[in-house]
Symmetry: C2
């Protein structure tokens, strides 16, 4: 049976390792994807966005994670300011506040106020431009569609449609040299925590809370789903929380 070549095998054959771009927000999911890509043998460039997020503190987490992983990282400024309508963007959008998890998911399928229009479309597009420019073959993102907030740009059908669009609209895509992968897309938060622990992700360096205070709030979507994952995995989240529910 022929063996499928993997990037790691490149080392044996004395070839350069394949390159990948990893979207690194600084949260648990993207930190896990960073570790996953490195573990697959990719030469990784991490990309973070400074887009006016209230939890700008995640950028410091991204910085620490990239340093710890020994990978280079670009921080792209993308300031649409108050015009980008989302509770996650502040302080310009001061009137929209971050809802608690229990207030958000009353009706199944509702998209919460923390939805940032077209965020992952933009982030993936820019990451693809960088990947295409440095001859990277894959852009990894931490999107997942189970135990998530219901954002449309985190679903498998979106990733699939994005890849198809990339195969029509970019040189590297047309030539079959670039694709987007979301390795966590079908995983529960429990499984993501388990994978993170297995890969030795420094979870104490990550930041997930949307509120971006001194401690994680424990109540927003992002905290609630993360804590659920740790609870179900029988593990303890090393972060400090205002409340652990």
């Amino acid at each position: 049976m022929p063996v499928r070549p993997t990037p790691a095998m490149g080392f044996i054959e004395n070839r350069k390792p394949m390159k990948a771009v990893v979207l690194l927000s600084g949260g648990m999911d993207s930190a896990t994807v960073l570790a996953y890509a490195k573990n697959e043998g990719y030469d990784v460039l991490a990309v973070s966005f400074n887009y006016g997020q209230r939890h700008e503190i995640e950028l410091a987490a991204g910085s620490a994670l990239a340093y710890q992983a020994g990978v280079k990282r670009l921080v792209i400024p993308l300031k649409l300011g108050a015009i980008w309508k989302s509770a996650l963007i502040g302080p310009e959008n001061g009137k929209l506040s971050i809802p608690n998890y229990q207030d958000t998911h009353i009706h199944e399928g509702d998209i919460p106020a923390t939805y940032v229009p077209d965020r992952n479309i933009i982030f993936l597009s820019i990451a693809c431009a960088i990947a295409e420019s440095i001859d990277a073959e894959v852009v990894f993102g931490g999107m997942n569609a189970l135990d998530y907030s219901g954002y449309p740009d985190c679903r498998p059908e979106f990733i699939q449609a994005f890849n198809k669009m990339l195969r029509r609209g970019s040189k590297a895509g047309i030539e079959g040299k670039l694709r987007v992968e979301a390795p966590l897309i079908d995983m529960t938060k429990k499984e993501i925590v388990e994978l993170a622990l297995k890969l030795g992700v420094p979870l104490e360096l990550t930041w997930s809370c949307y509120r971006g205070g001194q401690k994680a709030c424990g109540k927003c979507d992002s905290c609630a789903l993360r804590l659920k994952g740790f609870r179900e995995a029988g593990a303890v989240d090393p972060l400090e929380y205002e409340v652990r529910e």
Copy 2:
């Protein structure tokens, strides 16, 4: 026969006109699309990008065009610097120079050095985020796939795939409230010049040349295709050129 409602009819019915976002580079094509969108009755917000283009002078053209048309305009800074590999981005990419038209299209289907990886994917994504945030129903772009440089992100199959991706990955897309339109996509440069003249586009304010000098060079892809359009339309381009070939 039922009459299809148009945005212009909104005025008659005393409704607010529908909103549109127009990608306005400052070139002839986007200036024509701006006039088209206004003529269709849309309340237009123009969006331009300062992305390190050598021909940054096009931003001044965009400014003049928006002022003349009486529409608001956002200029989004998007600096990926030297990492965005293209002859069109400088001076960081100093080693890549703008080729002349006759050197570019020797082999049919070649994508020239002025291709900017994923540029229209990024521009459309950000324009869609703005459109979704202000409840605009359409993003207009000036892409066209006849008499063009062969960029993959200017072809109808790309626009189609982008719209499909938008219907998967964004709230407005899923709800059928936002789409991308490229009204010039199947038009020759001759037809674009004719439409521009018909709509009264102030062509003397536009800027197309990739080289961004004091006068248009007349030799790059963008100049050559524009001059061809005027020639075939039997009209005279009001811009000053170094050479008119």
